[in-house]
């Protein structure tokens, strides 16, 4: 998925004109393919999304608003925003560090590291959550020690943050690695010969060279951090008003047959996703030129 973003990124606006000019499929086949894609999109993406909003507003604007007056709902929103605000900067640092290490240095175990970066994509989030419970839970490996020290990780904010960091770790690193590898180290070396100190090179050369990929990574990471359910469900303990994030709260409301409340909260989550998508598209459109030149030498 992140690689796909980069592909669109590099493609930019197509100067060669309409695709029809280079493909040789007859018009019928082309229409059929486009038709299938559109039907698929409508059925699996647009329809469910629309349903969320329709259900959310079924009781009218007043009930929709009322759904957010509930203190538990407010605390879920607040918790989700807090988690995202902690997780995204953390993964920005981890992602940059990992991508830097992979792209700019040769060392033993490099391919292992690259594989490990992908691990969160392939491991079920529930398993990840369980792993943290086994590590830090009351009966877990570090449990007694943590209890003595008075530190609470599972069923509280640190556990939720840990689980979310784990699940969203690949988004930024995956976005950066191919680009950084492609760019090599000569820009940094040039800056070095020109007398720039290390931190200055990082801020003035390395980061600007990857800023679009970094931004996409951050947007994706943020979207996922707010939406993560599985791993967080295991470690949070579902304590209303305390450790309930927005996705968890949606589930609770739904199970209590509070459909309007559930869909209202869901519509907010979906809205956040849509905003993310819109920001990304806007940036792509606005900065198409510099994005294209960022991938060219």
């Amino acid at each position: 998925m992140p690689a796909g973003i980069l592909a669109t990124l590099k493609g930019g606006p197509d100067p060669a004109g309409p695709i029809g000019g280079v493909t040789s499929e007859p018009a019928l086949v082309r229409r059929l393919l486009i038709g299938i894609a559109l039907v698929f999109l409508a059925f699996f993406l647009v329809l469910p999304l629309a349903t969320v909003f329709v259900e959310a507003f079924r009781g009218g604007l007043r009930t929709y608003r009322a759904a957010f007056q509930d203190p538990d709902a407010l605390s879920a929103i607040w918790l989700t925003l807090t988690v995202a605000a902690i997780v995204v900067p953390l993964n920005m640092v981890f992602g940059l560090a990992a991508a830097w290490a992979v792209a700019k240095f040769d060392f033993r175990g490099k391919s292992l590291l690259v594989t490990l970066i992908d691990l969160p994509f392939s491991v079920s989030p529930v398993v990840a959550g369980l792993a943290f419970v086994l590590l830090f839970g009351a009966q877990g490996l570090a449990g007694p020690w943590l209890a003595d020290a008075g530190i609470r990780i599972i069923f509280s904010l640190p556990g939720i943050v840990l689980a979310t960091v784990f699940v969203t770790f690949p988004f930024i690193a995956r976005e950066l690695i191919p680009l950084m590898q492609d760019q090599g180290t000569s820009d940094e070396e040039a800056a070095l010969t020109l007398g720039a100190p290390g931190w200055r090179i990082f801020l003035r050369v390395t980061v600007p060279n990857v800023k679009w990929a970094l931004l996409y990574g951050v947007l994706l990471c943020n979207a996922r951090a707010m939406g993560e359910f599985g791993a967080v469900a295991v470690v949070s303990g579902h304590i209303r008003g305390l450790t309930n994030t927005m996705p968890l709260h949606v589930e609770i409301l739904y199970n209590e047959y509070n459909l309007v409340g559930a869909f209202a909260m869901a519509s907010l989550l979906a809205g956040l996703a849509l905003v993310t998508l819109a920001v990304k598209s806007f940036l792509e459109w606005r900065y198409a030129g510099s994005i294209a030149s960022a991938s060219a030498r």
Binding site: S186, A190, T193, V205, A294, R297
Partner: protein, 347 residues
């Protein structure tokens, strides 16, 4: 600034040493070319001089100062990369100004920076391009900017790694001339890497020829071309073909025929005779070597005939065709060997 490398050894992992004991002496104000085939260690040597690579053994001297342990950013070198390595998100002006702006306390004033960048843009003949992005420039223009950026910090030595390697022939010629002019104007000690012998011979004051991590010869373009010190230099610089010969009593023999080439005190035994195209001439003498013209081609310095010698070895020699002489493929010709250089061992 005189730049010396003394006994430089550099190994990457378990493979053969990239540099196996290299001594280089670049005089102050000199334009030195490092010439050699791909993988011979040219880039590694340049990077060791710059400080981008630390040598396993040996020392780098700038003048009388030992620069071996001076970090890159304090070493005062200008480095031009084959693929320019311009900062793509900065304008041309900002690229050139970068080295001046990051100087910390010694940073020149804004006006000073502005006037210096403007002067450098003029030096590389791109006055109008200050506000462009690197992506809006052609390859040749980008390399000029990279050169200006390297010169902006007034380096003690300018290092260029295959600076024209990614450019097409015409742009390359222009840029070569510019580099020569800029060098003459600034008197900057300069070392550039190339695998293109024409480039090295045309541009450099002296040429150093590298092979397998060792220096084969250092000398003026004329010296390395006319008096190569090894068979490698002979075959790498300029055109040449070779014949297996035998030295006996100070004479050079090819298939028991004594050639009119002095043996130069070579030891008796098998040797290789290297011939430039003009060391061989067509003749009418019946007793001369006979052969058949296998191919006629046009080279930069005139026309060449590849002649396959009659006899068991079917050796091929290349002959310079004098203006006005017509030679056809398949024609039987007789050849006289007038010169050439003897190196020990078989070709």
């Amino acid at each position: 600034m005189q730049v010396r490398a003394i006994g430089i050894v550099k190994e990457f992992g378990a493979a053969a040493a990239a540099l196996a004991g290299v001594d280089l002496d670049v005089r102050s104000g000199e334009l030195m070319a490092l010439l050699g085939p791909s993988g011979s260690g040219k880039t590694t040597l340049l990077r060791v001089i710059a400080g981008l690579e630390a040598p396993d053994r040996g020392r780098i001297l700038f003048g009388d100062e030992d620069a071996t342990t001076i970090p890159v950013r304090k070493r005062g070198v200008g480095f031009v990369f084959q693929h320019y390595a311009l900062f793509r998100h900065m304008s041309v002006f900002e690229n050139i100004a970068f080295g001046l702006k990051v100087r910390g306390r010694e940073r020149p004033s804004r006006d000073e920076i502005r006037s210096r960048v403007t002067r450098l843009l003029a030096l590389v003949q791109l006055e109008e391009y200050g506000q462009r992005r690197p992506s809006q420039l052609s390859g040749g223009q980008r390399q000029r900017i990279a050169l200006a950026r390297a010169l902006a910090v007034e380096p003690r030595v300018l290092l260029l790694d295959e600076p024209f390697g990614a450019l097409d022939a015409r742009v390359r010629r222009d840029l070569r001339r510019s580099l020569r002019e800029i060098h003459d104007a600034t008197g900057q000690t300069t070392i550039f890497v190339t695998h293109d012998q024409d480039e090295a011979l045309e541009l450099a004051d002296r040429v150093t020829i590298l092979n397998g991590g060792r220096i084969e010869q250092t000398g003026t373009p004329d010296e390395v071309h006319d008096t190569p010190s090894s068979a490698f230099v002979m075959s790498f610089v300029g055109e040449s073909t070779s014949l297996p010969v035998r030295i006996l009593d100070g004479t050079v023999r090819f298939r028991d025929r004594v050639l009119g080439v002095p043996g130069e005190g070579g030891r008796d035994g098998p040797a290789a005779l290297y011939l430039r195209p003009w060391d061989v001439a067509f003749t009418d003498s019946d007793t001369a070597l006979a052969g058949t013209v296998a191919m006629v081609r046009r080279a930069a310095g005139g026309r060449r005939a590849e002649v396959k010698l009659d006899g068991p070895g079917q050796e091929v020699v290349e002959v310079g065709i004098p203006v006005g002489r017509s030679v056809a493929r398949g024609e039987t010709v007789r050849l006289e060997i007038r010169g050439g250089r003897i190196f020990a061992g078989r070709p």
